[in-house]
Subunit: 233 residues, 2 copies
DNA sequence: CAGATTATTATGTATGCACATAAATATATT
DNA sequence: AATATATTTATGTGCATACATAATAATCTG
């Protein structure tokens, strides 16, 4: 048997994956180092590095300097979710997108909100509520607070035709944020808006974004029953 | 002003991020090519490539050969969720993990299940139901179907002390899979098990994994109310 | 002028080399 | 023996160069 050649990083990755699946390299086990693999595969060490690094990023390998590379014992499945603008999400399903502004007012938020956003309790924030529709049926309600101290342009935008969801992406970049998914029993007013029975189980996405150390916006999206967030592993 | 030097890919990435945030490079706009940036930053093109590639992977840049690199017009927020073994998830929160097998039987599954798993309608699958506990309180119910044609060892495992959730990760590798998150109203039997009111809104994770073209397992996890799946952006 | 062909160009990747860095191990010092 | 120091080693990164590839732009051809 002459050495098969794995000349590009993807084929190296495939071979490594094959060995893991075939249990030639078992979970928790140390695999050969980059230099040895490079020699075996007949390629440069940097090519092996590229392949292994990529597998480590997806959680299948654990790498530590000096300690070496081992197959993850408990591979944490990393599911990458694409959180798109709702309009795109709806249109991507082949439905007609609709948008309807419900309320827009500048008010002092409840403690829960200014606590999370770390704004002074006395500061007014822009509160926008809107409904997203798919094929003229309710799709999701958006309840959003915008820090006008950070995004003053929001003050001049009425959000009548463009959703805050979309507007902010265009005009208010963020450096980092948090996102949480949960199931909630929908309150009466939201149930009315979505046209579902009160106490229905709806999917909720809560997002809070920051521009450096200042909060930009906090939003809760409630989706009509049946909504699924899906991705592949 | 002399040229600041960005000698490593992370500092190049930071500078690119800064320009995007400062809107020196606006959404949808074409940015200079790698060679020019390398010259400006005083580093090798490969260093710039590393920085830009990584930003493209996280969805902030769109890159196409010959066409060049542009700032994503609608940056799709890519949220990476770590789906860990439930025991680790519970222990990671500092709670005591508990496990309880409910049922384990070899039966012919309903059409819904063998349809999704693409197994012959007459084939029996291993059906395991179990309860995961955190600090002795119900945490999640697991309802799982295992393709014993693909994982014959499961036949000899009683799942009395180790959850299928954990056992499978160790003994049944998969090549790919699908995962879906949703909110459901809990059925009466599951409500009993979780110790919650019937019709409560609970968070559901449905996962289906494959080893090449054969389904390995299909599972639904229902979490007690209050459960949140969270990550940072 | 439409359609096929050929250049051009920006990203994508492979290579060999060098050095940086973290972490484990061995060695020296009190 | 406990602690500090040095050595070793595997991964991490940077660089210069070369060539591959995809997509656009330019050119040719009937």
């Amino acid at each position: 048997m002459n050495a098969p050649s794995f000349r590009n990083w993807k084929s190296v990755q495939d071979e490594v994956l094959r060995r893991i699946h075939a249990r030639e390299w078992k979970p928790g086990e140390l695999i050969p180092n980059e230099a040895d693999l490079a020699e075996e595969f007949g390629c440069a060490r940097s090519t092996v590095n590229r392949a292994l690094r990529s597998l480590a990023e997806s959680g299948l390998l654990d790498r530590r300097r000096k300690a070496g590379t081992r197959v993850a014992a408990q591979p944490v499945a990393k599911a990458t979710l694409d959180i798109a603008v709702i309009r795109h999400e709806v249109e991507g399903r082949g439905s007609k997108y609709g948008y309807q502004l419900l309320t827009r007012e500048l008010t002092v938020p409840p403690a829960r909100v200014c606590g999370a956003m770390q704004t002074p309790a006395s500061d007014a924030l822009l509160h926008v509520r809107a409904l997203h529709l798919a094929d003229d049926a309710p799709y999701a309600v958006e309840d959003r607070w915008i820090n006008i101290g950070v995004v003053p342009q929001a003050h001049d935008e009425d959000f009548a035709t463009i959703s805050a969801n979309e507007w902010l992406l265009k005009y208010a970049p963020y450096t980092h944020g948090e996102i949480a998914f949960s199931a909630v029993q929908v309150a009466e007013d939201d149930a009315d808006i979505l046209g579902v029975a009160p106490q229905s189980a709806v999917f909720a996405i809560d997002r809070l974004t920051w521009d450096k150390d200042a909060s930009v916006t906090k939003v809760r999206l409630l989706f009509t029953p049946g909504y699924q967030l899906r991705t592949s592993l």
